[in-house]
Symmetry: C2
Subunit: 148 residues, 2 copies
């Protein structure tokens, strides 16, 4: 399967978040062409600032595999991981991270002078970035409109 295929699934997750009034980020975690976890942001639902799509997908995979390391797995996520999620992905030694839109406000690159990811983790970015970014823009636009 292509990166676009899995990113479309991550986008479906992001849309679920949008519909629930959560920041629309979605993630899919894949190993050996099998989906191990799908998740979307649940910060509001859980009242938990750590409940980002990436963290939920990672902890689900740790739990199902009984392993704290995921060197054979790939995480597809619609938006560049924040500092927290980049750090969690680093600890997981995940094999590859594929993300869609860059995040110039909260993305880890805005804080880091060197890659926050594990040296052995491959990075692919910009996959379906326009759709991923548009969803975020639409969300925050609707938020601003509602707060007027």
């Amino acid at each position: 399967m292509t990166s676009e295929h899995y990113m479309k699934l991550a986008l479906q997750e992001a849309k679920k978040a949008f519909e629930k009034d959560e920041v629309p980020v979605g993630a899919v975690l894949v190993m050996n062409n099998q989906i191990l976890a799908k998740a979307h942001n649940q910060v509001e639902l859980l009242n938990d600032a750590t409940a980002h799509a990436e963290i939920l997908a990672l902890t689900s995979a740790f739990d199902s595999l009984g392993s704290k390391y995921l060197p054979e797995a790939t995480l597809y996520v619609t938006v560049e991981p924040c500092l927290m999620c980049a750090g969690a992905l680093n600890w997981s030694k995940i094999g590859k991270i594929v993300y869609g839109a860059s995040d110039d406000k909260n993305g880890s690159h805005t804080y880091c002078h060197k890659s926050p990811f594990h040296p052995k983790t491959a990075i692919e970015k910009g996959v379906l970035q326009d759709e991923c970014a548009q969803l975020m823009k639409d969300f925050f636009k609707s938020k601003r409109k509602n707060s007027l």
Copy 2:
């Protein structure tokens, strides 16, 4: 109560981690002079790379308060937060972070060109740093000895 008082409690948590063969980091989360959460690293026990003392203390407090923000709380932690924990603390908008030893390997300062914490979060460092650092040194020394 002084920072040293709560850091001693965080050190007790770190020692519990040490005894369980976990990297010895402990944390105590305090609000209005009440302890909301005490936690130590449980990465090995839970097979969860995100189960750092800070994350466990934060999620416990989010859950008990029903709030994703902790502007009135202070986190005492024996070692400088890593990138993941710094990011989580940022999202929580915690009022103050007090840490003991700096971490020149995994501490967030080794990745960041600007503070990873929320602009409104006060930072105090170096509290009981020698004890906090010694515990880490002893742990990794014992690990190296066992791996010979």
